[in-house]
């Protein structure tokens, strides 16, 4: 009887350990908040081009993550991307003329929204729209711009050379 009891306790501990591991996986290695998702307030912003921004991407200011992108839509009126983001409730003192831009983490990393604080005395609240936005830098555009400049510079120097 004593032995059976020990085995039952051991089994209980084992299953508990398994469930604890599963819980660790769900809470620690994924970013998804299970259950409590309805906290914080929602801001929207329209971008010319969002590049590779995805739902779930962080929204940060000064390098600190304030919230996440929750929805990306296409605005068919003016052909721009409409991004909705949820900001955590403790960050409720963001000036309402702050601007948002899309940056890339590292050289090949994920894209995120970086905000820069403005100087306004009033703060963003639920449902507000960020008016000042800056699109993602698309690498191909940069390269083609650079090549065009480079070619122009070359032809100019070629014209100047015969004189």
């Amino acid at each position: 009887m004593q032995q059976t009891r020990a085995i039952e306790i051991g089994t209980g501990l084992f299953v508990l350990f398994g469930i604890a591991s599963l819980l660790f996986m769900v809470t620690q290695i994924t970013a998804e908040r299970v259950g409590v998702q309805r906290v914080g307030y929602v801001l929207t912003a329209e971008f010319e081009n969002i590049g590779g921004l995805k739902v779930g991407a962080p929204v940060s200011m000064a390098g600190v993550t304030l919230g996440r992108v929750i929805k990306i839509e296409f605005n068919s009126k003016d052909y721009r991307a409409l991004v909705e983001m949820r900001i955590d409730p403790q960050f409720d003192k963001i000036p309402n003329d702050s601007d948002a831009a899309i940056f890339t983490q590292g050289l090949l990393g994920n894209q995120y929204i970086g905000m820069t604080a403005g100087g306004s005395e009033t703060f963003y609240k639920d449902g507000d729209r960020i008016e000042l936005t800056q699109s993602a830098l698309v690498l191909e555009n940069l390269i083609s711009k650079f090549l065009v400049n480079f070619a122009e510079g070359k032809s100019r120097s070629a014209e100047e050379a015969p004189k």
């Binding site: 059976t4 085995i7 039952e8 051991g10 089994t11 501990l13 084992f14 299953v15 350990f17 398994g18 469930i19 591991s21 599963l22 660790f24 996986m25 769900v26 620690q28 290695i29 994924t30 970013a31 998804e32 299970v34 779930g56 991407a57 962080p58 590292g106 050289l107 090949l108 990393g109 994920n110």
Partner: protein, 256 residues
């Protein structure tokens, strides 16, 4: 030539017959399951045997697999200068592939052989026949609790393996080679989704059913000799490993 073809046909037919028998055995076990759940004590005992006793091997192997993954991943990723991705890559590899497959292989080697040889020895020493004489169904009394114990233990072991593996990756990645811990965890969190964990756990459950089924089937149908028990144990490991890898391919293709 004709004899060769005939031989080939014969062995193919034999394999099909075996597959059919395993499946029928599985259906039989499923049919008895509701009644067996009434006798939890037997199952608890087997969860302890299959699960808690495999804990040491699962944890050490998980730790070392994670550490190797950390070292190799760091070596490879530092060449392209993006070491922070290590957390994401290793976590995905562990949850989706390495965790379930390695756990199933170790489970077949540790718990599967124990099940097969235990039941096989009962067969060889006529304990199963004695039970039948006493109007106790050996499938219900001996085989089913062991099968269910394995089925419950395997997902738990998979979760433990994955967690310990990630701990191992972290141990090498952050403590030893010095990747920034913030970006390590945040890259991991942004890469791993709930679906990936679900995939890993579904695989763990499927492998658990497959490995336990093969072990109890081989043990129950072993020849009642010392050699027969040995052969059943060997076949358990071989068939479980092949079945695990085959099922893994199918599940991966299915859930991609």
């Amino acid at each position: 030539m004709i004899t060769l073809l005939r031989e080939l046909w014969r062995s193919t037919r034999e394999a099909l017959v075996q597959l059919g028998r395993v499946f029928l055995f599985f259906l039989q076990l499923l049919a008895f399951t509701p009644a067996a759940l009434m006798r939890m004590r037997l199952i608890v005992h087997q969860i302890f045997n299959a699960g808690a006793l495999s804990l040491v091997i699962i944890m050490t192997c998980g730790l070392f697999v994670g550490m190797v993954l950390g070292l190799l991943g760091y070596d490879l990723l530092s060449r392209v200068g993006s070491e922070e991705v290590l957390g994401a890559g290793a976590a995905l590899a562990l949850t989706k592939q390495l965790g379930p497959v390695m756990t199933a292989l170790l489970f077949a080697g540790r718990a599967g052989t124990a099940l097969a040889s235990e039941i096989g020895l009962m067969r060889a020493t006529d304990q199963l026949s004695a039970m039948q004489m006493m109007a106790v169904d050996p499938v219900r009394r001996v085989v089913l609790p062991r099968f269910l114990g394995g089925v419950v233990a395997m997902p738990c072991l998979t979760a433990i393996f994955i967690s310990i593996g990630i701990f191992g990756v972290q141990l090498v990645g952050i403590q030893q080679v010095g990747i920034d811990s913030g970006s390590f965890w945040s890259q991991m969190r942004s890469a791993v989704e709930l679906d990936d964990i679900r995939e890993g756990m579904v695989k763990g459950c499927v492998f658990g059913v497959a490995c336990s089924l093969i072990a109890v089937y081989e043990g129950y149908n072993s020849l009642p000799t010392a050699e027969g028990v040995g052969r059943a144990t060997t076949r358990t490991v071989v068939i479980s490993s092949v079945a695990t890898l085959l099922l893994n391919f199918m599940l991966t293709a299915f859930m991609l």
